[in-house]
């Protein structure tokens, strides 16, 4: 479990705190979506989790290890992996396999062991054909997967993804999301920063931040329903949701709890079936 207790953090030379008295527990194996307007502190929050920054006030512990103690950092960074917004700035190796070996090298694994694990992870993610490629020759989706491989090889218990599908084409997006889903099923805790409502619907938990504070925390459906009713909400509705809302406003007997295409399909099917029955009777 990752525990954040009454944490505040302020960047140097910045008037307002980036995080303001935040408390949060992230459970093992949990799939948590994290959203909020730009500059609300999402990235700062996940940077706390892997000791990249230490809280000004309060305590962050990862499996009981305090992030403010330097001696814990290696273990914490192994436990909590980070995927940054721009994979280009995360890939350090001259070739794919070399990049994946960067983390284990830092942990001083013996070279044969690194070689073996790199081979395994490449196979696992279906990246064998890319092993000797230079990073700049990869596509956006491949870059994400390579940087993910570099994190996975250290066998983390949690991975924080900072907008992992930004700038990706639909295929790359799907590959990355499928991979995240698979990791979650394998028991890795996922923290997913996103602006896309489709990504939030299937999460187990949704956290909404604003101005350095957590304003909503709970099951995504409840929160999204609440936010959908608020016209000033920073979340943009998916077209299907917008459509259902408008139909409802016109007097169609629909429930508002429609967050995905599957929901809409089920709801319309129900409606048509009942209309059909009425006609027959």
């Amino acid at each position: 479990m990752i525990k954040i207790q009454n944490v505040s953090y302020q960047y140097d030379g910045c008037g307002v705190p980036a995080l303001n008295n935040i408390s949060l527990e992230i459970n093992k194996g949990e799939y948590m979506a994290l959203t909020g307007p730009n500059g609300c502190g999402k990235t700062t929050l996940i940077r706390l989790l892997n000791a990249l920054i230490r809280p000004d006030e309060g305590i962050v512990t990862v499996h009981g290890l305090d992030t403010s103690i330097a001696a814990n950092h290696k273990e914490i960074r192994r436990t909590v992996g980070m995927l940054f917004q721009n994979p280009d700035n995360q890939i350090v190796g001259m070739t794919v396999e070399e990049d994946i070996s960067f983390g284990p090298g830092n942990l001083n694994w013996p070279p044969q062991e690194i070689r073996r694990q790199v081979g395994e992870i490449l196979k696992n993610l279906g990246l064998q054909s890319l092993a000797l490629r230079a990073p700049h020759t990869l596509s956006g989706g491949e870059k994400r997967l390579v940087s993910l491989a570099g994190v996975l090889i250290m066998n983390p218990r949690y991975i924080a993804f900072d907008e992992p599908t930004a700038y990706l084409d639909p295929l790359g997006r799907r590959r990355v999301l499928q991979m995240m889903d698979r990791l979650h099923r394998e028991g890795i805790g996922i923290i997913h920063i996103t602006h896309d409502i489709n990504d939030m619907v299937d999460a187990e938990r949704l956290l909404v931040m604003d101005k350095g504070e957590i304003i909503l925390d709970g099951p995504p459906r409840d929160i999204l329903r609440k936010m959908a009713e608020n016209p000033d909400s920073f979340i943009s509705m998916p077209p299907v949701m917008e459509l259902m809302h408008q139909l409802k406003r016109r007097g169609w007997p629909l429930t508002t709890d429609i967050l995905s295409v599957e929901d809409a399909e089920r709801e319309l099917h129900r409606l048509l079936a009942s209309m059909h029955r009425e006609q027959q009777s």
Binding site: R77, M82, D88, M94, E98, I114, L132, P135, V151, M154
Partner: protein
């Protein structure tokens, strides 16, 4: 893209050879080639070409890599041709320029030596992947650790710099397009305007480089990087092939010295 002696994947004797041995051999050969004046030059050239052959480098690839340097070689040849004292073979009328026999020979020798030196570099980079090259250099420089020089950190820095060269080239292209779209004269125009627009290219490039460096430092830290000893994926191996190569190098060395001092 950078064409000069880009690494070509392969599994020949020359490719497999330990990077340390190759670096040492090429360094030794480039020193030798400038010490050589007579028949030794021929011997050294032949051995360089022999190494190309065992590395299965195609003549066209090597020629392509050396192409940009041929102009330099011609310039060197010209300089020696016209500015060496000796028996005048040809006096160009009305001009204080004359060609000497010694100049001709000297020019030929020096420009050939220059090309051989370049060839050494090209062979090294074409048969050795950048990662192995950095790894080899790191191992060769290890003794400097005693002088408290952080050799491993330097190796990480060098490999990272190499890794980001293509990224920055891409970025440069992107910025160039963006600035051209806003009316900067990047390609054409008067000299001073071109110079001004160079600033419009370099400033954004620098800014983005620094931002990247920040991100990169953070990403490295997140993956457990700390100063101090670390292991790497690529291990160098010193086996039979390396011993054979070193013996061959030793024989070559002694031949050249023999030619130079004994004959």
């Amino acid at each position: 893209m950078i064409r000069f002696g880009q690494y070509r994947n392969g599994n020949s004797f020359g490719h497999r050879l330990d990077a340390r041995v190759k670096i040492l051999a090429m360094a030794a050969l480039s020193i030798l080639i400038f010490q050589a004046h007579g028949w030794e030059v021929l011997l050294l050239s032949v051995s360089l070409f022999a190494f190309c052959a065992v590395s299965r480098l195609k003549f066209s690839q090597v020629r392509e890599a050396l192409q940009p340097l041929v102009l330099f070689a011609v310039l060197l040849f010209g300089l020696h041709l016209f500015f060496t004292d000796g028996a005048v073979v040809l006096q160009i009328p009305y001009l204080p320029v004359r060609v000497t026999g010694e100049g001709f020979l000297r020019g030929l020798l020096i420009s050939w030596q220059f090309l051989c030196l370049a060839l050494c570099g090209v062979i090294l980079t074409m048969t050795t992947s950048p990662s192995d090259l950095v790894c080899g250099l790191e191992h060769l420089l290890r003794p400097l650790k005693r002088l408290r020089i952080p050799v491993q950190d330097i190796a990480v820095m060098v490999s990272m710099a190499l890794r980001f060269v293509p990224t920055f080239l891409e970025e440069y292209d992107r910025i160039k397009t963006a600035q051209t779209a806003r009316g900067a004269c990047v390609e054409a125009g008067r000299y001073d305007r071109k110079l001004k627009s160079l600033a419009a290219l370099l400033m954004p490039l620098m800014t983005s480089a620094f931002r990247r460096a920040d991100d990169l430092a953070e990403a490295m830290e997140a993956r457990g990087y700390a100063r101090g000893p670390r292991t790497t994926l690529n291990q160098l191996h010193f086996g039979h092939e390396e011993i054979i190569a070193l013996i061959a190098l030793g024989i070559l060395f002694s031949f050249v010295l023999m030619f130079k001092y004994c004959l």
